[in-house]
Symmetry: C2
Subunit: 400 residues, 2 copies
DNA sequence: GTAACTTAGTTTTTTCTTTTTACTAAGTGG
DNA sequence: CCACTTAGTAAAAAGAAAAAACTAAGTTAC
């Protein structure tokens, strides 16, 4: 969301100060254990400036001091870490089959989570229930003493940038929903940050943002569930989400993969979702909406028709991944979503297709890493929480 | 190339000063005729700061003062413009069929251009000839009195970010070419900026960067010629090119559009280029490499086979554009390249496909603007020059 | 015509943040 | 134990933008 459509920020001294504070905090966040001297080197600031900045970040409770580092012939520096006891963010995902909530620390550690199945319902009902669960989560004992920075909401559909409107959620049957407004009817804003973003984009953000050590320059998260979506985040200094003009960036489920192919829900023909998605697999195998897809397929895995369907779907997913490779070319690809649980018969063809074809153009010896997340339950909710933190650290608010 | 892999820049006072100078220059560049007061409002700086910044930019020759604005009940402000007499950038495109060179002013006005056909040749030969032509261009009388900021080179293939290596140029048969090094064997660096980038990405950059007035938040340029490539540029403050991890971002010609389809040059099956590209159309219609594609087709436009081929290719292009819409979702799409000259029989199906299908997901009343560039001869070269200027204004060099 | 008002831009002083410089702290190695 | 190295702090200096006061140059009301 970030909003703030002002193209240029004021370049005053306060801005400079905050920029340096945010730089320091960001460096420690990425590589825990840094000393003041390390920061001075990496940020190209003087020791004095870093010392002052660290001082104020310690006082505000963002950082805490750790052990003395090993010395290499001089006074040892003192390690700095994110303070894990002071601030927390909430994140929630509104999914097709339920609500997932997390509370996590600035390093991404999950303090508490909730997972509730909820049948398909109206935006109003979902918002009311989510508000209740958020209240519950906030009062959880494991959050005692934490100052809550804000709440991020992940939704299964394109969210218009700047507007905080969920444009459409095909699998929920929602359209043009101002979900945050609905939520605030039951839960006060309370001067904290509220972020609302697409589910796959949130997941992508969290997967990159909470990484420490060697951080990929860019990352694509593919969310394969009832529908198929993706999100891309990149940028070295501040991680930026590719949202697109109308929030449609990453809607790979509706890229054409077979011109003149089957009709898709969206009305076009040959969309990727007609080949690979929860709903297309259900349709091909005659599995009811009420049944759990995975549970229904598990006992039928030996049937040739099931195997063929899964292989075809997997190959289509492989082509989709390859297409992302050739349009966005991320440094890393992460695959999550409920379809991952279909396992080898579905995943192997996908991975094989990408593995065999990704080096067609470039004979690059180092293939792009592709990681499969077995349990992606909390990924999107956690990523929504991540965006709250990023908003605080990089945003123009007064919290830092 | 931008390079400078340092993740964080020093936040000292000089940095702040340069940031504000660059902000001022950027604002005037985007909306010529701004007054100091306008800038102060938009940049959220005080009149005094803007006054000082403008002063130094006037002295350095970046800006010049224009007419008095109309007054609305007070002292009229003085319009500021880019100085078009002082600085210039060179840009060149190495294409499959020849070399194109331009010299242009900071506003993008072309001072001089060269266009030379060159048969397919080695990187060394091309570099030597390009060096000669650059020399010629630099000595052109219309560049008298101009200070040259640098030179940008656009190449028909993926360029690795940070490395200045052309990874591969399929239609030239080149691989792993350090083109700038070859060029510098014949032409000294001379303390100016050198930029090397993919051709479609360069074009995209130039199309966005030289725009004034209402500037789209993001733009995709599609280059449809012998092969098909694209480039995306976005970002409000400083325009950022999506390069991708290995420079493969935008290689839409090798996205799979028909799994199990025809074999592509790259070895994979069903790539978009097997359906729409200069080479696939030649193959379908039996047109020799030596003939000019457009000239060969023109007299045969009434043949049903030609019409069918062009329509099929156009529809594939339409699907490609729709796929970009659903993966990148740019605010604007620009279509250029030699295939544009095929005209209606090719373009109409493409535009119709995109027009009819782009609102499937969102019933957005305002469709994404799609502009066709009739004569894209100089677009990539000009865009390469644009990157030089952007490097000066936003980069960390001392020129500002 | 002129005084009141409005807006543009500059000059001067003040404020604030970083750097510079000098210093203290705390380890290693001969 | 003493030189040496590196980490971090403190006080003085430099430099940038802000704030306030000012001049400049138009319009509007009467």
């Amino acid at each position: 969301m970030s909003s703030s459509h002002q193209p240029h920020r004021a370049g005053d001294l306060l801005f400079l100060k905050r920029l340096n504070r945010s730089t320091i905090l960001e460096l420690v966040r990425r590589t825990p254990g840094l000393t003041r001297a390390d920061i001075a080197t990496q940020a190209q600031l003087t020791k004095a400036t870093v010392g002052g900045g660290v001082q104020s970040l310690l006082e505000q409770g963002w950082l805490c001091e750790g052990e003395l580092q090993k010395s290499s012939g001089g006074r040892p520096g003192r390690a700095l870490h994110l303070n894990e006891q002071r601030f927390a963010m909430l994140g929630a995902e509104v999914g097709v089959h339920g609500l997932r909530l997390v509370a996590c620390t600035p390093s991404g550690r999950v303090l508490e989570s909730l997972n509730e199945r909820l049948p398909l319902s109206s935006p109003e009902v979902a918002a009311e229930r989510l508000a209740e669960l958020l209240q519950t989560l906030m009062q959880s004992p494991s959050l005692d003493g934490y100052h809550l920075l804000g709440t991020g909401i992940a939704l299964p559909g394109p969210v218009a940038p700047e507007d905080a409107i969920l444009r459409v959620a095909p699998n929920l049957g929602w359209r043009e929903v101002r979900f945050l407004d609905l939520l605030h009817a039951h839960l006060p804003r309370q001067d904290t940050i509220w972020v609302m973003e697409n589910e796959a984009k949130s997941a992508a953000f969290g997967e990159l943002y909470f990484r420490t050590g060697s951080i990929p320059a860019s990352l694509v998260y593919i969310s394969a569930g009832t529908g198929i979506g993706s999100g891309m985040v990149e940028g070295n200094r501040l991680p930026l989400l590719s949202r697109g003009h109308q929030g449609l960036a990453g809607e790979i489920g509706h890229t054409v993969l077979q011109p003149g192919g089957l009709y898709c829900h969206c009305g076009n023909r040959g969309c990727a979702e007609t080949l690979v998605s929860g709903w297309s697999i259900r349709a091909a195998l005659g599995i009811n909406e009420e049944e759990d897809l995975i549970e229904a397929i598990q006992p039928r895995l030996q049937e040739p028709q099931v195997q063929l369907t899964l292989r075809r779907a997997g190959e289509a997913l492989g082509a989709l991944i390859l297409n992302l490779h050739h349009t966005q070319n991320p440094s890393e690809i992460v695959l999550g979503g409920s379809l991952v649980r279909l396992g080898g018969p579905f995943l192997e063809p996908a991975l094989a297709y990408f593995r065999d074809n990704q080096a067609r153009l470039l004979s690059d010896s180092r293939p792009v890493p592709l990681r499969v997340i077995e349990d992606a339950t909390l990924v999107a909710a956690r990523g929504a929480a991540a965006q709250v933190l990023a908003n605080v650290i990089h945003g123009s608010n007064e919290l830092l």
